[in-house]
């Protein structure tokens, strides 16, 4: 069972928890208004999770739809072991994993990774408004990260993303990817080696012992 999740994107107050339980019950009763409320409450979180994991917005609306369809169908089986937002995050991770796997079999989209929206990143991230040069550099850096992620096997990619970028620990990741922490640790071990080696540039460092 997931004890604690660092990433709290859903409602956080006790009142919200009561609301959440009520919302789930009403959704289970197939109340249309409850479905709407559920959707409105979590749609941005779901879209954000998917967008950040995948790194582009191609078919993002289809993926959001898929997540909610799975969620509505699976609410019957939701036991409340984790927060609703965490449970949804888990669905997002699985849907994103499926998407990454499918995309690996297809040619990459023209124009590479879409990070147009990075220009609209949260202004609070920067202490003062970015110059165009800074904005361009930031976008390039992010593009580099996603390009490196593209080289990893889907399972490794997800684990690395959740650990390095989202900052989740092994237990949390294990819950999200439906695996055990030991397997996650192994995947992460190799994923980090590969990822940072790619980031550092193949010519930068000669192969070290144990590298594949």
């Amino acid at each position: 069972m997931l004890q604690r999740v660092k990433r709290e994107t859903g409602p956080t107050t006790a009142l919200a928890s009561v609301d959440e339980a009520d919302l789930i019950e009403r959704c289970r009763a197939h109340e249309r208004a409850a479905h709407d409320e559920f959707y409105h409450r979590f749609r941005r979180q779901v879209a954000g999770n998917l967008y950040r994991v995948i790194g582009d917005r191609v078919d993002l609306d289809d993926l959001v739809q898929e997540v909610f369809v799975i969620a509505f169908r699976g609410l019957e089986r939701f036991r409340g072991d984790a927060r609703l937002s965490t449970w949804l995050y888990r669905i997002c991770v699985n849907v994103a994993l499926g998407r990454i796997r499918t995309r690996k079999r297809r040619p990459p989209p023209i124009g590479g990774i879409d990070l147009d929206a990075t220009a609209n990143a949260d202004p609070s991230l920067t202490e003062r408004p970015e110059t165009p040069q800074q904005s361009l550099e930031r976008r390039r850096d992010q593009e580099t990260v996603y390009r490196a992620l593209e080289h990893l096997a889907p399972k490794k990619r997800i684990v690395l993303y959740l650990h390095e970028i989202e900052g989740l620990d092994l237990k949390e990741i294990a819950y999200l990817v439906d695996s055990n922490p030991v397997t996650v640790r192994t995947r992460l071990f190799y994923a980090r080696r590969e990822f940072y080696k790619i980031l550092a540039g193949d010519d930068a460092v000669p192969p070290t012992e144990g590298d594949e």
Partner: protein, 492 residues
């Protein structure tokens, strides 16, 4: 000191190294340009993690997504389908009709009186015909741009203009073309997200096929997917006396001597004849006997199976479609023993044998087994089309006989594994503290006990270690018995 592995820089940035090691790698980087460069790159990437984490989602068509979700899951919605009225599409249609009427009125006013109002005010009075200041030439009618369709997929017996042509995928289907199917099916795309699929034993004529209007005459069954069209673009399907008009939708028209059926999966179509007309909304169908007038009471909701059937019959479309695909794509022929469901590059395409349009490159083909599970049938390289070249072809191997008595084979595998060799394979990673690893394999054994194939399908081991494990497993000897194919997870 040896070079610093790049991931150690990430550890250093995250404060996961002790002071001594931190100082040591910094000292090394001070004298090693390649490590310093690696450190800088890792630093830049790590800095961008925060920005990625706080990345806001892009704006999406939220209402449209919500509608699609409800459509998929809401039992309420399914119940409502059974009721007579669905006000939303009707309102939409009313708005669209109003828009069309307004546009038509505006266009009529403009064509009947082509001078702009401002110029009219400046034009000389009609009482002074002797001194015309400007001669207005009537607008020359411009012929609408002709359209052409390309075949995306074909199975079985198909004729174009009465001929069983061999260059089906190299032809442009233009106005006047007649397509007929025997036991086969053909999918033709004529625009981005616009295509039709002619079912077996059907005939279709492209009576009009240009940018202003499309008119198809059908005898048999045709499934059509049409992207939303502008108000001046017409799209009609003639089925005997009946005319089906559409804007943007997916629907099926089935017409024979006795009955005409129009079923709509999404969007809205209008069916009319001389006596009246009826609007067929999403997930509804109307069945019209030859001697019956078009009337709303003949409409009924589609069952879930019928909706699924329509979904499966959706014509195949290629993204970013253009006529240039004629030069930049090529047919791939997939041959099977009997009829089997196939996938190409993970996309399910239906029953083979078939020919399908693909882009040049390497494509993976999978075929469904008797249990409906897709298994890899092979890959095929498709070249850029050249004159006289034969289409790429992949023969899907015949399906192996069904598996029986797996447990006996499983037991033979477990008892036959050389555990000492297995332990030797993972010894080096176990020494690094990595335990609890696994390898999942798929293995086929024939009645004589020979291993047909042995694939590692999932593992968390590095490839060298996984190969070592695979070699150990491949050396297991099976006795005579039943043929079996199964998956096994080996925990290490």
């Amino acid at each position: 000191m040896t070079h610093v592995p790049p991931h150690r820089w990430a550890d250093a940035l995250a404060g996961r190294l002790d002071d001594a090691e931190q100082r040591a790698i910094e000292r090394h980087a001070a004298n090693c340009p390649s490590c310093a460069r690696a450190r800088d790159r890792v630093q830049r990437a790590s800095d961008s993690f925060v920005a990625i984490k706080n990345q806001p989602p892009p704006e999406l068509p939220w209402d449209s997504v919500r509608a699609r979700i409800h459509w998929s899951v809401s039992t309420e919605r399914n119940e409502r389908i059974k009721l007579d009225a669905d006000p939303k599409p009707r309102r939409w249609f009313a708005h669209a009709a109003f828009g069309v009427a307004a546009a038509a009125a505006f266009a009529y006013a403009f064509v009947a009186d082509p001078l702009p109002r401002s110029e009219l005010a400046l034009a000389p009075h009609v009482d002074q015909p002797a001194t015309p200041t400007r001669v207005v030439t009537p607008p020359v009618p411009v012929a609408p741009t002709p359209l052409a369709g390309l075949v995306n997929r074909a199975t079985g017996d198909v004729m174009i203009d009465g001929i069983r042509t061999t260059d089906l995928f190299a032809r442009r289907l233009v106005a006047g073309t007649v397509i007929a199917t025997g036991d086969g099916r053909i999918d033709v795309q004529f625009g981005d997200a616009s295509a039709f699929a002619l079912a077996p034993r059907s005939m279709l004529e492209l009576r009009r096929f240009d940018a202003e209007g499309i008119e198809l005459v059908v005898e048999g069954t045709v499934d059509i997917e049409v992207a939303p069209r502008a108000s001046h673009q017409t799209f009609i399907v003639r089925a005997g006396e009946r005319v089906v008009e559409v804007r943007g939708t997916q629907f099926r028209v089935q017409h024979d001597k006795t009955t005409t059926t129009v079923a709509c999966r999404h969007g809205l179509v209008a069916v009319r004849d001389r006596q009246g007309h009826v609007e067929v909304g999403a997930a509804r169908r109307v069945d019209l006997a030859a001697d019956h007038a078009v009337a709303p009471e003949r409409m009924r909701p589609l069952s879930v199976d019928e909706v699924n059937d329509l979904a499966q019959a959706t014509p195949m479309t290629l993204p970013m479609w253009s006529l240039e695909l004629l030069q930049s794509s090529a047919p791939l022929e997939i041959a099977t023993v009997g009829r089997r469901d196939v996938r190409v590059d993970g996309v399910e395409l239906g029953l083979a044998p078939m020919r399908v349009r693909v882009l040049p490159g390497r494509h993976t083909v999978e075929a469904a087994d008797h249990a409906g599970r897709f298994r890899r049938a092979g890959w095929v390289d498709v070249a850029v089309p050249a004159a006289g070249s034969k289409p790429a072809r992949l023969e899907v191997p015949a399906e192996p006989p069904p598996t029986r008595n797996i447990n006996a084979r499983r037991k033979q595998l477990q008892t036959g594994i050389d555990k000492a060799r297995l332990a030797h394979c993972v010894r080096s990673i176990a020494k690094s503290g990595l335990t609890g690893t696994y390898v999942q394999i798929e293995i086929a054994v024939d009645p004589q006990g020979a291993v047909g194939f042995l694939n590692v399908i999932d593992t968390d081991l590095p490839s060298t270690t996984a190969n070592c494990v695979r070699e150990v497993l491949a050396d297991v000897r099976f006795g005579a018995g039943d043929a079996a194919t199964w998956r096994e997870r080996i925990d290490l």
